[in-house]
């Protein structure tokens, strides 16, 4: 019997693939954000509000990843953005080999922002880096502020946490405590920025889009005055 100390990061190949994607996007001056959340947290509604709120000369493409169906990409096209649908055929998360063919369908040179709507899942989507500039996680008020106790990895890898469906905070049945959530988040991921939005009331998207514009501006200075 032999023992070999390997000390190898299992995700190192994934990280290398993600870096290749970042290099490709950087070369073309494109920003990509990875939107992750549970099913029903409001990912598509929020993306539609982002498209509406971002400056009109910001060229946006959306990659919609779903196990099945085209409903989300149809909504995005109707909103005026370029939409590419990926049906993962059962896979519960997006990986780079699935993303690459979708990127091939987008004219990167004329695109400023790619929004990837990952599959509704708080576990597996957090495990795979897809090469985005920012991981944006949505947690809707009806899901409860305790989700961070159950899915800490997702909260630990997000660059921005968006508390969505804040219109529900006003309901008498509400027990969601944003402060309790943000304190717990600070223990796991002190760098994460926190936003609050309601797609229903169209609240909070100016601040969220300001954050996205900041990432675009840092990456593509030519777009700075947008």
């Amino acid at each position: 019997m032999n023992v070999t100390q390997v000390r190898r990061d299992i995700l190192q190949d994934n990280k290398a693939q993600a870096q290749n994607i970042r290099n490709l996007l950087a070369k073309n001056g494109v920003t990509m954000i990875n939107v992750m959340a549970s099913p029903g947290a409001g990912k598509t509604s929020s993306i539609l509000r982002i498209i509406e709120t971002m400056p009109k000369d910001c060229s946006i493409a959306v990659i919609e990843a779903d196990i099945d169906s085209m409903v989300d990409s149809i909504k995005v096209k109707d909103a005026g953005a370029v939409a590419v649908q990926i049906n993962t055929g059962g896979s519960c998360h997006l990986e780079i080999p699935m993303l690459e063919p979708a990127l091939d369908l987008i004219d990167l040179r004329s695109t400023d922002l790619i929004i990837v709507e990952n599959i509704g899942n708080l576990v597996c989507t957090a495990e795979f880096d897809i090469g985005a500039d920012a991981n944006v996680m949505l947690l809707s008020v009806p899901e409860g502020d305790d989700k961070i106790l159950k899915y800490p990895l997702m909260f630990s890898i997000c660059d921005a946490l968006v508390i969505s469906k804040t219109d529900y905070l006003a309901l008498p049945s509400n027990d969601f405590d944003p402060q309790r959530l943000t304190q717990r988040l600070a223990a796991l991921n002190p760098e994460a920025q926190v936003f609050s939005t309601s797609a229903y009331e169209n609240q909070g998207f100016e601040a969220l889009c300001g954050y996205i514009r900041g990432i675009i501006a840092a990456k593509a200075p030519a777009c700075n005055n947008r």
Binding site: M1, V3, T4, V6, R8, I10, H93, L153, L188
Partner: protein, 116 residues
Amino acid sequence: MHELGVTKLIAQTVIDEARKVEAHRIVEVHLIAGAMRHLEQEWVQYYFDRFSKGSVAQDAQIVLEETPIVNECQACFELYSPNLEDGHSHECPHCKSASIRRISGGELIIKQIVWE
């Protein structure tokens, strides 16, 4: 059940390492997984058996070591494991500083392989 995706990578990595050392058979695979990964040894073994079938890693035993979430206070450099349920997990328990850095809890590493 979410172990499927990462276990595929574990099996690929182990088979790759087996090739490097020219192993005939992998006997044990020792993994280090941070607590945030929520990996269950039973499920990792189940999927590993499927992904390693017919390879040198077939029948290898998975040994999973879970490492806790550990934060380092940036003011006094105290190390602590935050208890997210106590309401003060964002503060250093020693000096109460909120300037902290997480240093472990998300890792996923093949520590060692035992082989013949």
